[in-house]
């Protein structure tokens, strides 16, 4: 069994996916197994570059790549739940199909988890096309200067808003240049998307993404919800520098009008209360 199962949902972005797999194939940390949930109409596994990258990943990790072609699209939360059910490793890395990773990222995330034992640690990608869009008012960073601790963060609160801005445009990238940490530092988040290492046991304790049937087909916020629940019980954070970059392709979770029909945070009060009474009991 690998120590990390990399869970990768992909849909309609074959070329960004090649970058993502190339970054994954070259990680210095190799105790990983890749599980792909492919929702393209035609399976991508046979594209030459992707097939070659899968072979490199197998050769370097010693673990067979699991490639599931499942063209029926029920939404991203369902994809994530499907992948979680395939996982067996103590840690799972949810990796979006448009993220380019530096080779040290996974090693740094695993090391941080070993130290903190918290619910999740993210590596939020910079949008480098925003490099020249410097927004000093959105670069505030709250570092975890001790151990990462559980916290109840209310969506929409002033603190939530402040933390949220850091993950827009290239704000994190600019903040990183200013703080220039020599070794990765952990900071507080509202949530963190795209490349997130979860403690699988903790993630299952809050129910994973099993709430997916209660969401409309086109939704967002499924990771925001899960992370908010995890933060309450086990704490969560993100890493600076993140060592990741966005491929900057259009979103693939939107409906024909370019919108979503629902946000998973609508379920937060109910799920938080249920978990709260469970831990109180």
């Amino acid at each position: 069994m690998a120590h990390v199962d990399v869970l990768l949902p992909t849909c309609d972005r074959p070329y960004a996916l090649t970058l993502t797999l190339a970054g994954l194939a070259l990680q210095s940390y190799t105790d990983l197994r890749l599980v792909v949930a492919d929702q393209n109409a035609q399976p991508l596994a046979q594209l030459p570059s992707l097939a070659a990258l899968a072979r490199v990943i197998e050769a370097r990790t010693g673990h067979a790549v699991e490639w599931h072609h499942r063209p029926t699209r029920l939404g991203i939360a369902e994809q994530r739940e499907f992948l979680l059910a395939r996982a067996t490793a103590p840690l799972v890395l949810y990796l979006d199909d448009d993220v380019l990773m530096e080779p040290w990222v996974l090693a740094a995330l695993v090391a941080a988890h070993r130290r903190e034992r918290c619910g999740f640690i993210g590596a939020f990608p910079a949008g480098l096309s925003f490099r020249d869009d410097v927004r000093p008012g959105q670069q505030h960073v709250d570092f975890w200067d001790g151990p990462v601790r559980p916290e109840a963060l209310e969506p929409g609160s002033a603190e939530w808003e402040r933390r949220r801005h850091l993950h827009r445009a290239a704000n994190l990238w600019h903040a990183t240049a200013r703080h220039a940490p020599r070794t990765p530092r952990l900071y507080k988040v509202a949530w963190v998307a795209s490349c997130v290492l979860y403690d699988r046991t903790r993630l299952l304790e809050v129910g994973g993404f099993s709430f997916w049937p209660r969401l409309p087909r086109y939704h967002s916020g499924e990771e925001v919800l899960v992370q908010n629940l995890l933060m309450r019980r086990a704490g969560g954070c993100a890493m600076m520098p993140s060592g990741t970059y966005h491929a900057e392709e259009p979103s693939t979770v939107l409906n024909a009008k370019g919108r979503v029909d629902g946000h998973a945070l609508a379920l937060l009060p109910e799920l938080a209360a249920a978990l709260g009474s469970e831990s109180a009991a």
Binding site: T18, L19, A25, L26, S49, A52, R55, A247
Partner: protein
């Protein structure tokens, strides 16, 4: 100020493969290189999102980048000569546009070039789809026991048969068996080596580079082989393992292989041989 290495990439009609190669360059532990990419596709490779994304990261790492649209197409030899003419660094690394490189490939090549002081060194390209196709009869390897010396290797000779080691995943099987400690390498004798070759820039130029393109029709193959044979005859060259270079195993973009440069032109500059 020049970099220690200029990485030279000629590309044609495969932007996704190129983006994977560029991602491999983002991951290199050796960072003192400049990148020159020249594209001969009908639609510019530099307009592809995935190529732009990878180039943005390379820029962020501080690598000087030079991109060219080099048209019309006059064949690969001319394309390589065009790239060589752009070079400023003491070493040039020619990379095919359909490779995946492990992060230590450049570091090992630079280290070996400094020790060996020969004309060129390469890491042969492994086709991992052949990982279960073990071919003991193609695993013969001739290590360089002393310093790498000039060698004349011609088509049809016994030494020419060395190329079989680079077929399929043979080299992968050999290096798995040898299991050298990290940072160590083995230099071995070759006929030629494809895909990922680092030259001493001055020595490649002194041997004529790819200037023989004028003697070939635009449709040809084997131009890298011929350049290597000529450098090898004057300065020596070799392969080093372990190789961390993998093929993406795309169909070739050199469709017409009837004119094979080393069979048409000889080892000596200006000598013309009949077709084989």
């Amino acid at each position: 100020m020049t970099n220690r290495v200029d990485v030279l990439v000629a590309t044609y009609r495969r932007p996704a493969a190129l983006a994977v190669l560029l991602t491999s360059l983002c991951a290199q532990t050796f960072r003192d290189f400049r990148l020159v990419v020249s594209d001969q596709s009908d639609e510019s490779a530099f307009d592809a999102d995935e190529v732009r994304a990878a180039l943005r990261v390379l820029r962020t790492h501080g690598h000087p980048l030079e991109i060219h649209r080099h048209l019309p197409r006059r064949g690969l030899a001319e394309h390589r000569q065009f790239l060589l003419d752009r070079a400023q660094a003491p070493c040039v690394l020619f990379l095919d546009d359909d490779l995946i490189l492990e992060p230590d490939v450049l570091a090992l090549l630079v280290h070996a070039m400094e020790r060996e002081r020969c004309g060129f060194l390469g890491q042969a390209v492994i086709g991992l789809s052949y990982v279960d196709d073990v071919r003991p009869h193609e695993q013969a390897i001739e290590p360089w026991d002393g310093p790498i010396a000039p060698e004349a290797v011609a088509p049809g000779t016994r030494a020419w048969e060395r190329h079989r080691l680079h077929n399929a995943a043979n080299l992968y099987h050999v290096q798995q068996r040898l299991a050298l400690p990290p940072g160590r390498y083995l230099a071995y004798r070759i006929a030629w080596i494809g895909g990922c070759v680092m030259y001493d820039t001055a020595k490649l130029r002194a041997a004529g580079g790819f200037g023989f393109w004028r003697e070939l029709p635009p449709a040809h193959c084997g131009e890298d082989v011929l350049a290597q044979l000529r450098v090898m005859a004057r300065y020596g060259g070799g392969g080093i393992l372990p190789s961390g270079v993998y093929h993406q195993e795309l169909p070739t973009t050199v469709a017409d292989r009837r004119i094979d440069a080393p069979h048409v032109l000889g080892l000596d500059r200006g000598t013309l041989h009949g077709p084989c």
